[in-house]
């Protein structure tokens, strides 16, 4: 069935809730209102207020309660109205959720999800891409889907997973990207990258919105005789190093792209792995394309200036190919 990215996420949640009584959702305005982006529209009617729980504006209580419920047999999905508000629940995630398996050998099968990303005039507090904070935290799985089918499949896998998973949706993709999505139960494993577009000359490794920028760049570059391979890593933790290294060993050239800011971003980790494990295969230095190291500004002229785009990725590929 053709679904938008938003519909596919909702479908994954709905199927998981129908199949498993232990799954419930907690968040702000997710019930009567159906969520700030209407992602949970109709959920309250189908599942009732116990399983679609409108919470007070208390992100650390929401996340902490999800941790507690998951220690006691449930599989909660906590929504952050905007992922930026995850900062208010940071301690619960980093200190409690991310250390529990290691200390107690007990599962914390919870998902924290919400809209991230810029490009929609969201202001500095509704535009962040904070995924890498949680990569560095240890003990948290981090998922960043780029396509509807993957979004559904990764959501269902995240809910079934026995570790805490932070699932970053990109709000700019919600209604922009559509494709055929398998009906019913559908699982995409965490930690498996996907070659979205095979190519011979340069590997572009990306996730989230940057995958779409990379595909647009690849289409432009095809006309210039450059055959670009685009890899969507889909999850940052676990990270599918093998698929990335295999690609780079074939092409000998790589560009790494994400919408999050450059310094301390996951791109640096990808480059380090390539450098450590595929150095002798490289014909050019690996180049990163990412946002400028600033908060995401509000005015459209400024926001456009700091965020990466297809043109920037195309330029990076050209430079890499010409090295």
């Amino acid at each position: 069935m053709i679904m938008t990215y938003l519909e596919a996420i909702a479908d994954g949640l709905r199927v998981a809730m129908r199949n498993d009584e232990r799954v419930f959702m907690i968040g702000e305005d997710i019930g009567t209102y159906g969520g700030a982006f209407k992602l949970t529209k109709g959920f309250l009617e189908e599942f009732g207020p116990q399983r679609i729980m409108d919470a007070p504006i208390s992100e650390s209580a929401i996340i902490g309660a999800a941790i507690g419920a998951s220690l006691n047999g449930m599989r909660p999905v906590a929504e952050m109205q905007f992922i930026d508000f995850i900062t208010n629940g940071f301690n619960q995630l980093v200190t409690v959720a991310g250390t529990t398996a290691y200390r107690w050998s007990l599962p914390v099968p919870m998902v924290v999800r919400g809209p991230s990303g810029g490009g929609v005039g969201g202001n500095p507090f509704h535009s962040r891409n904070p995924e890498n904070w949680f990569v560095h935290a240890t003990g948290l799985k981090v998922v960043c889907p780029a396509f509807p089918a993957d979004a559904k499949g990764l959501m269902m896998s995240a809910i079934r997973d026995n570790d805490p998973v932070i699932y970053f949706e990109h709000k700019g993709l919600y209604r922009k990207i559509k494709e055929d999505v398998p009906e019913g139960e559908y699982y995409v494993p965490l930690g498996k990258a996907r070659i979205v577009r095979p190519g011979k000359h340069v590997s572009v490794i990306a996730y989230g919105s940057a995958v779409h920028m990379a595909l647009e760049a690849a289409a432009t570059l095809e006309a210039e005789g450059l055959d670009v391979e685009v890899i969507d890593i889909r999850s940052l933790v676990p990270f599918d190093e093998a698929t990335v290294l295999d690609s780079v060993r074939r092409t000998g050239r790589a560009v790494v792209a994400h919408e999050a800011v450059l310094t301390g971003g996951f791109g640096g980790e990808i480059v380090a792995r390539i450098s450590e494990k595929a150095f002798t295969f490289l014909d050019a230095p690996v180049v990163r394309v990412a946002a400028f190291d600033s908060p995401t500004p509000f005015a459209p002229t400024l926001e456009r200036a700091v965020l990466p785009n297809a043109g920037g990725i195309a330029d990076a590929v050209r430079r890499t190919a010409a090295f």
């Binding site: 409108d54 007070p56 208390s58 650390s60 507090f125 500004p297 400024l302």
Partner: protein, 342 residues
């Protein structure tokens, strides 16, 4: 599920005869009308498709913003407003053009386009705007007056939070800290019955949010937020206490959010009867009527005030919306103070 009773009606009776001068009373009405007509002008902009960012109406909150801010010394105290406090900005002397260029993030904004709406800081006007994260600025307001106190200066901080935002953990930490340090902080909890779509019954279970004051060992009171003179009198008492070194005060103002959370929200979840009930208690209309009844203003002068104010607001907004966007290069400057021209 048994629910605690909600403070629909304010437990305090409004003051019957005014102790304010006629000038003060006219000024209170003028500021409230400014807030009211600012809303109307922003709504017009939104309907024209020219607004940028969310349009958060403060309709119904005029008496709270104006009555609280009016109790302060705007030259010495400090304002940490929230998203429905445009009236407070006006009382603190913010001019419309500065407000609008900041609000719409145009070239010349005090935030250079990096942020918008009421988030700006204007230290000269003693206004430090909010961030989107609810409650995040309350500890900051506490720290601001902590510094004043350390230097022996008299500075009271006035800040706000909603019935929803009051459930953020930082609010608790800030109040407790301010109580322990006896800081001159006034926190107004604007209970307008809804937090986005969430009714108070799903936000808190105490009968009054001001009950929490007891737990912090500070003064707390719940009042009718539609009565500007009551709001002013209550805040003045809190200001006096703060200046005497008696620490923070929690004031819960009960009102009704008369529109959606922002203009994209049709607020179908709010019972019509509730809106009708509160429409009858309209803070601006009621105060205008009161001033007319007391012979402080005439029907004609109120009408004229409203029309002139609206025209003024529309003109300022139309001027601002025609301004160019900031230059893209601004995006790459000032992440650190090293680059900020001093």
């Amino acid at each position: 599920m048994a629910k605690a009773k909600r403070p629909q009606q304010a437990p305090q009776a409004p003051v019957s005869s005014s102790t304010l001068s006629e000038t003060e009373r006219r000024e209170l009405l003028r500021y409230m009308v400014m807030a009211r007509e600012f809303d109307a002008a922003m709504l017009r902009l939104y309907r024209q498709g020219k607004a940028f960012g969310g349009v958060y109406s403060q309709l119904g909150n005029e008496a709270v913003s104006v009555g609280t801010a009016y109790a302060l010394d705007t030259k010495a105290d400090v304002l940490f407003p929230m998203h429905r406090n445009i009236g407070s900005h006006f009382v603190f002397g913010q001019d419309l053009d500065t407000l609008m260029v900041n609000h719409l993030a145009r070239k010349g904004s005090q935030m250079r386009g990096t942020d918008g709406t009421g988030h700006y800081a204007d230290p000269a006007k003693r206004i430090y705007g909010n961030v989107s994260h609810l409650g995040a600025m309350i500890p900051v307001a506490a720290g601001f007056v902590l510094a004043s106190k350390m230097r022996g200066e008299s500075c009271v901080a006035l800040t706000y939070i909603g019935d929803g935002g009051a459930q953020v953990g930082e609010v608790h930490e800030a109040l407790n800290f301010a109580a322990v340090q006896r800081l001159p902080l006034i926190l107004v909890i604007e209970n307008n019955q809804y937090a986005y779509s969430t009714p108070s019954s799903l936000e808190f279970a105490c009968e009054r949010l001001s009950d929490r004051a007891l737990g912090y060992g500070i003064d707390g009171v719940t009042i009718d937020g539609t009565d500007v003179e009551l709001v002013l009198a209550t805040t003045r008492k809190a200001v006096e206490r703060a200046r005497r070194g008696e620490g923070p005060t929690l004031i819960e103002t009960v009102t009704m959010r008369m529109r959606g959370h922002a203009e994209h929200d049709d607020f179908a979840y709010v019972p019509k009867a509730m809106l009708e009930e509160w429409a009858a208690k309209d803070p601006v209309e009621r105060y205008a009527e009161r001033l007319i009844a007391d012979g402080v203003m005439s029907t004609e002068s109120v009408k004229q005030l409203r029309e002139e104010t609206l025209a003024h607001m529309i003109a300022a907004i139309d001027r601002a919306v025609e301004l160019p966007w900031p230059d893209a290069e601004e995006a790459f400057r000032n992440v650190f103070m090293d680059e900020v021209a001093q």
